[in-house]
Subunit: 385 residues, 2 copies
C-alpha cells in the first residue's frame, strides 16, 4: 500500500473556498498478480474539494490493513478482495460519529480495492460494481453536466458566456454555475447570461456552496422561483437540515445537496429532516469522500427506503471513479469540471462526451491510466519511486 499527495490544477474559487491549496491522496494497492505481463495495481483517490489524507492513511489505516492475514481481506470463496472486509479492518478502533477526513482516507483505500478487483477480472469497474450490487448497465454511459460558471472578475458576463460556450463546444448540453458569491442582482444577471447559452432553463443549475443563512436562502429561492432552473444547490450549511426544509417548503423547483455529508447516518438525517422531495430533489453524496462505494450503496438503500429514486443521485466530483459509480449503480448521472481540478479531476480522451452523455473508458478498472495527465503519477506510485 502506497500513497501520494497531488495538488489540483486550476485556481478557481467558489462562494466559500479557494481550491488552489486543495490536495488529493492517491492510494496504490500493489498486488502480486500478473495480467498481460504486468503487475496488477489498484488505484483510488479521495475525490476533490477536500484534502489529501496521508496522515490518517499512513498512521491508522496502513498498519491495520497490512497487519491482518491477507486471506481476511478476501471474499470467503477467495475470488476477489472484499471491500466490506477491508472497511471493517480499516475502521478498527475508530469510534462512531465524526465523519470527516477519516471518511476520505478510507474511501481512497476502498476505491483502490474496486479498481484492483476490476483489473483482476479484466473488466471496467462499472461492470464489477454493477454485478456486485445487482445493477447491470450495459450501455457504459451516464448523463453528465458541466459544472463551473465561476466568477470571472473583470471579464464578468463576457467571461461567463465564453466559459459556457466552450462547454457547448465540448459536447455538454447542461450546466451549473456558482451563485452566492456576489450581490443578488449580480447573480440574477449571471443566471440570465447563462440561460442565453443553456437555452432551456431545465438545463441550468445554480450552486450556492452552502453560503446562505436561512433568510438569504429564502430570498434567493424566491428570486429564482419563477425561472424553472434544473436545481438550486446547497443553499445553506450542509448540516442545517432545518434551513433546507424551510427552503424546500417554499421553493417550487428541485433542490440539491449532500456532497458534504460523509456517512450513511448523516445522509439518513438529510432524508429524515431536510424536507427532500421524492422524485424531485437531487442527492450528491460522493463515495470518494464517504468511505467508498460500500457506504454509498448503503446510502442508496436509505434513500430508496424513504421513497427516493437513484435517478435523483448525481455524485459530486467530476472524475472517472464517480463516472464508473454512476454507470455501475444506474444513478441519475455525474458532473464534469472541464479544464480544472486535474490531474485527478476530469475524464480521459476515451470518454466521448456527446448529447450530454459521457462514456466510461473500456480499460480495466476505473481506467485512471487512460488519463494522460495522471498516468505518469500512477506509474511512479506503482513503482514506488
Amino acid at each position: 500500500m502506497r500513497d501520494v499527495t497531488v495538488g489540483l490544477q486550476g485556481a478557481v474559487t467558489n462562494a466559500v473556498v479557494s481550491f488552489r491549496h486543495h490536495t488529493v491522496s492517491i492510494v496504490a494497492l500493489v498486488s502480486d498478480q500478473i495480467r498481460k505481463g504486468q503487475q496488477v495495481i489498484g488505484f483510488g483517490f479521495n475525490s476533490i474539494g477536500r484534502f489529501a489524507q496521508s496522515g490518517i492513511i499512513r498512521e491508522r489505516l496502513k498498519p491495520r490493513v497490512l497487519g491482518v492475514d491477507p486471506a481476511d481481506l478476501l471474499f470467503p470463496d477467495g475470488s476477489a478482495f472484499d471491500p466490506e472486509a477491508l472497511l471493517r479492518v480499516a475502521m478498527r478502533d475508530e469510534k462512531p460519529g465524526g465523519h470527516g477526513d477519516r471518511a476520505g482516507a478510507v474511501a481512497a483505500l476502498e476505491l483502490a480495492i474496486w479498481d484492483l478487483n476490476a483489473k483482476l477480472a479484466d473488466e471496467p469497474a462499472y461492470v464489477t460494481i454493477g454485478r456486485h450490487f445487482g445493477y447491470q448497465q450495459p450501455t457504459g454511459t451516464a448523463a453528465v453536466y458541466a459544472a463551473g460558471g465561476y466568477y470571472h472578475g473583470d471579464s464578468g458576463m463576457a467571461g461567463l458566456r465564453e466559459e459556457l460556450a466552450a462547454y457547448v463546444d465540448m459536447g455538454f448540453d447542461a450546466f451549473k454555475i456558482k451563485v452566492g458569491g456576489a450581490p443578488l442582482q449580480h447573480d440574477l444577471e449571471r443566471i440570465n447570461t447563462a440561460l442565453e447559452i443553456a437555452g432551456d432553463s431545465s438545463r441550468l443549475a445554480v450552486d450556492a456552496n452552502g453560503r446562505f443563512g436561512a433568510s438569504e436562502a429564502a430570498t434567493f429561492g424566491q428570486a429564482i422561483a419563477g425561472l424553472g432552473l434544473r436545481w438550486f444547490e446547497e443553499p445553506g450549511d450542509p448540516l442545517d437540515f432545518e434551513l433546507l426544509r424551510g427552503v424546500a417548503s417554499a421553493y417550487p423547483g428541485a433542490l440539491a445537496t449532500g456532497e458534504n455529508l460523509f456517512s450513511c447516518v448523516d445522509a439518513r438525517n438529510l432524508v429524515r429532516y431536510g424536507g427532500m422531495r421524492p422524485g424531485a430533489d437531487i442527492f450528491q453524496m460522493d463515495p470518494g469522500l464517504s468511505y467508498g462505494i460500500g457506504e454509498y450503496a448503503r446510502m442508496l438503500d436509505v434513500l430508496e427506503t424513504y421513497g427516493h429514486d437513484r435517478s435523483q443521485c448525481f455524485p459530486h466530483g467530476g472524475h472517472l471513479i464517480n463516472l464508473h459509480v454512476a454507470v455501475g449503480l444506474g444513478l441519475g448521472g455525474c458532473e464534469a469540471y472541464p479544464g480544472v481540478f486535474g490531474p485527478v479531476g476530469g475524464y480521459s480522451r476515451q470518454c466521448e462526451i456527446r448529447d450530454g452523455q459521457v462514456k466510461a473508458p473500456d480499460a480495466p478498472g476505473f481506467g485512471l491510466e487512460t488519463k494522460q495527465d495522471l498516468r505518469p503519477m500512477l506509474q511512479q506510485l506503482g513503482e514506488g519511486s
Copy 2:
C-alpha cells in the same frame, strides 16, 4: 508551532473500541515572551478517545497560521491572542460539513492559544476563560465523577467492585460504568454490583458507547427504567437522533450524549431532533474534539436558546483542559478516568478530589506542567528536542 504524538496508557476496551492504539496530538505554541525568566509556551491537545492529527496539523493548519501576519492573530487592542482569529485562519479553504478529525486538529491548536493567553496573564486558564465569556467562577472547583466500570474479564464482578471501591478511596462519590458489551442480564448484574458501592442510584451512570440499535436501546432502557440511575449514556449511534428521540420518549430517567458530535451545527441537530429534555438530559460535547473553546461556547449558546442549561453539560475527556473549561464556563461538571489514558488524561497532584469535587490547579494556564507524567514531554516539545 510544534506538535508531538503521544500514546494513551491503560489498555481498556469499551463496547465498541480498544483504546490501546489511540493517540493524541500535543501542540506547543512557543512565544517570544518571557515570564519569570522563562519563555512562555502554550500547550493544547485534542482530548482522548480519537487519534493524533499530525497530518492535518502539519500539512494544513501550520502553513496557514504561520503564513499570516502575527498581528492578525491578536485582539484589536493587541492585549492577547484572539482564538476566533486563529480559528478563521486555521479554517481557511476548509469547506463546511465533515466535522471529524479536522475538528480535533484545530482544537489542539485553539486550546494552546488559551493556555498561552492565560500564561501571559499569569493566571489559571479558567480565569481567562471565565472572564472572556462573562462567567466568573471564583471557587476554582467543579463536580467530577469517576468514569470506568470496565469489563474485567475473568475477575468479573469482583474486579468491578474493586475498581469502584478504589475510586471511593480517591475521593469520588459518583461513578459511570460501561454497558452494552455483554448480554443484558450480565450488564444488569454489573449495575447491581456497582450500586452496592455507589449507594444511591443517583450516583451511578451507565454508558453504552453507541452500541445499541433502536430495539436493543429500547429494551435496555426498559430494563433499567426503574433503577433511577444518574444517566443512560449514548444508547445508539451518536448521529441517530431518531433512535435517541425514541429512547427519550420511553425512558423516564436522564439520557446523556454528545461526545461524538464535533461541531455546533451537529450539536444543534441533536437539540432539534434528539428529544433531549431541558433541565434533565446531559450534553457531553468535548471542546478538544470540536474546534476548541470558541466553538464549545457557541454550542452552549445553542443549548440555552433551546431552553437547556449549562448545568446539564459534562464534557467528555477527563483531563485538566476540560476541568478548566467546566470551571471557567460554569458547567455541570467534568469526568475523570482514574488510572488510564495518561499522560494527557487525568488530573495532577495539585487537583484535590473531595466530596465529588475536583480543584483546578492554581498554576498559570491549564497547568499541564503540574502533571508529573506529562511535564517531561512538554519540556521536550517546548525545547524542540
